[in-house]
Structures are given as C-alpha cells and as structure tokens.
C-alpha cells in the first residue's frame, strides 16, 4: 500500500468543544497532538473512535465515511487507549481477552505475547487488576486495545503514568508496530519532548481549534503561530 495514502481524514469537524478541525493521518505515520489542558485533545480522539458524533463535518477512514462503517468494526480498527486505564473487574487476562471474546475469537488472542509486548511478566495473567499499580494498569489497558489488532491506535496520554524506562519501551513498541504492522498512531501527550521525539506530524490544539499542524521537525523548529511558539516556551 501507498505510504502516502490517507488512513484518516477529518474535514471541518466541529462539536460544541471543537471548531473546524481538518487534518489527515497517513498510513504508517505517528502523529502527536499537543495543547493546553482542556483544549479538546481527548474530545478529538472520542470523535475518531466514534464515541461521540460531530455536529458538522465529516470523518473518513480509508476513504469511507465512518458513518458508513459498522460502529463496532470501526472501533476495533481504530483502537483507543484512554487517559485512565478503565480496566474491568477481573484478572489482567480477562481484560486483555475482552475484545476478542466479544467476537468469539478468544483462541486467536495470545495473552502471553500481548503481556510481553507491554513489558509485563506472564505471571501477571492471573493478577487481579485492582492489585496492579497505575502504570501496570495502563499497560494492561494498552495490551487490551492491541488485542483487537487495530490498524490505527489512538492514545490519550497513555504513558503519562509510566516511568521513563517503561515509557521508552512503549515508545519503542509503537515504532515497532508502525514499522512491522503498518499501524498509524495518533497520540495525545503533555510531554513536548515525547511529542517531538515520536511525531512525524504534530497537531497543536488550543481552545478547540487546530491552530498549527505540520511535520513535527519543521513546526518545532519554526512555529508558524505565536500561540504554538508561546506554548513551546512554557
């Protein structure tokens, strides 16, 4: 497939919290979203996972309007990891198998491999999620989303609760998934270093508006707007 093919396209998308957002995500691309607290970053991810509906504008996935794709299928293909882990009562294994189980594909779900992917030992399988630390819970949540084999991954500050070493592992993992599985990643982060390190493309959102977007290396070097320049300085 063409690397430049757009996998997600947002056209003039608005909600009561977002105004006229337009951008493109490309296949095998990592895009980072930055912006002040309350800017609407999480809200944007909700729209792409179709947990919320835009009041105007259109979103396309692989050229198809997402309104024309069965909702559950879309949500599996555009997987999402939330700002909080939101694990279900039960063991790590039960959580990881949740998605595949819904579709009766539990046999295809290699829990050991998924735990391995997020740097958790296999002994964690039978651990109750309530006994896990915040960072461990977040990693189980990431594994749970991976279990659905998404082709786009939406991450909402997925590494903000993790230490430097685990964060590095997750970052390596994302890069590996992009290279090997051709996954596109859209990640919200408060960590500007991470946004610059991981992003090929960066979106800067403030007060519900997409004020700046472009190749990460370019806009971090030469911000076009005062807003983004100010934000980088803080």
């Amino acid at each position: 497939m063409d690397k430049n093919q757009s996998i997600i396209t947002c056209k003039d998308v608005s909600t009561d919290r977002l105004k006229d957002i337009s951008f493109e995500l490309r296949r095998k691309q990592i895009t980072t979203i930055v912006g002040p607290s309350g800017a609407g970053k999480s809200s944007l991810l909700f729209l792409l996972n179709r947990l919320e509906e835009p009041t105007s504008g259109e979103i396309y996935y692989l050229g198809r309007n997402i309104k024309d794709i069965p909702v559950t299928q879309l949500r599996c293909e555009i997987g999402m990891v939330f700002q909080s882990a939101y694990l279900f009562d039960g063991t790590a294994e039960e959580n990881i198998q949740y998605g595949p189980k819904l579709r009766g594909e539990v046999e295809d779900c290699d829990v050991n491999r998924l735990l391995d992917l997020v740097d958790l030992p296999q002994s964690f399988k039978s651990r109750y999620v309530t006994s896990l630390s915040g960072g461990e819970q977040q990693r189980v949540a990431i594994a749970r989303t991976f279990a659905n084999k998404p082709s786009v991954l939406l991450l909402d500050e997925a590494t903000s609760a993790l230490d430097i070493k685990t964060t590095e592992h997750i970052e390596e993992l994302l890069i590996r998934l992009r290279d090997e599985k051709e996954i596109s990643v859209l990640m919200v982060t408060h960590n500007l270093k991470q946004a610059e390190r991981m992003g090929e493309q960066t979106l800067y959102i403030e007060e519900g508006r997409l004020l700046e977007s472009g190749l990460t290396s370019e806009i971090f070097e030469h911000p076009e707007t005062n807003h983004f320049e100010q934000f980088l300085k803080e």
Binding site: R50, L51, E53, G79, F82, Y86, L87, Y98, R144, T145
Partner: protein, 256 residues
Amino acid sequence: MEGNEISNLSLLFIIVFVFIPVSLSYWFSLDLSKTIIWSSIRGVAQLFIIGYVLTFLFDLPSWQGIGLWVTVMVIVAAINASRKGRNIPYVFPVVLMVISLTEVFILSLWLLFGYIPFSAEKVIPISGMVIGNSMIAIGLALERLQHQFSEEKGRILAALSLGATPNQASLQIIRKTLKAALIPNIDGLKTIGLVQLPGMMTGLILGGVSPLDAVRYQIVISLSIFVSVAVCAMMVTLLLYRFYFNDKMQLIDLNS
C-alpha cells in the same frame, strides 16, 4: 372477627409515645423533632383517610371498587418509583406499564387458582402489598441504574471502544443493579418469620385466624410479592438501560 377493638383513648396513648423520640432528638440536638412529628401526624391522618376510603370501596360492587383502587395504587406507585429515575427518558410510562402488567398477571393467578375470591376486601389489601413492594424495588433499581451509569462511565466507554454493543457494555451494570434491587427481598424471604412476622400474618393472627391458616396466606403473598418484585425490577432495568445509548452505540450522558 373475635379480636378486641382499640378504643380512641388507647389510640391516643400510642401517639403520646411519639414524644419520647422527639424529646431525645431535642436533647441531643439531632434536628429530627419536626420530621418525627410531621411524619407521625401524616401517617395517622393517611391511615384514617384510607380507612374511610376502604369502607367506601368495600361497599361498592367488586368490579368498581377493585378497578378504581387498583388503578389509583398503580398510578401512585408509578409516580413514586419513576421519580427515582428522573433523568431517564420514558421512565414514567415504562414503570406504569410494568407495574400494571405485573399486577394484572399476579391478580389473574390468584383468581385462577382460587387463592382469593374477587372481592374488594381481599384483592385490595394484597394488591397493595404487591404493588408497594414492586414500587420500592423499581425505585431501588432506577436509583442504582443511574448511579452505576455515572460511576462506571469510563468502563462503559472502554467497553464500547473495544467493540462492545450497548448490551454487552452494560452487562455488569445490569447485574449489579438487579442484585441491589432484589437483595432486600431475597434476604427478607430467607429470614421470613424468624426475625419478624410478616405484617399480614401478624394481622391475621391478631384477628383470630389460626397460625397454620395464616401461614398459607403468607406463602401465597410472599411468593407473589417476590415474583412481582423480581419481574418488575428486571423489566424496568432491561427496558430502560437502552436509553443511555443512542442508535450509534454512543453513551448519552443523562445525568448531566
């Protein structure tokens, strides 16, 4: 009935006893005096009025008396129970329908198997028990449902985002809601007669009916109540949880 009657004077004494908790509340500044006095007066007045209403109803032809009063009870119960789920769309019509259907169903069973004759003296009091208990269970279920949906919002979103349908995403919530709504009745059934004699049985025994005959009535009543409570809570929960989602399988924030 061979039971002795309570004179006006002795009735007055029991009311005087209400001043014990009132003075306690006053001494310990519990700020409950007004509520206690008000609810006692209200309770007494309500009961007297009901006494007259029942006398009036029992004098009417069965059809009219039963029809009139059961309708009133069902509507009052539906209004009361649905208040607990104010934010849920269609809560009143759904609750009204569920309580009515259950009452009609239970009443038909009673008449069909000849547990009671079709007379206002029998049908109205036991319908009252069934409807009253259903009202409480529905209220609990609605309260629980709302609470769960705001408490568990994140997990429901997570489930939806993993490809769950609204049905699959609310499974846990529905279970917890029903457990909460039914547990008081299940516990009550387990200890029935051991801790507290059920109100109706107490009444029958005081009225001179032999305990073994009273027990038979109580079995019919208790199980009828249990069945209707369970059916009501389940139907209401299963009919209403869907309103927390739209047709795009998105969670609607009804609590805000």
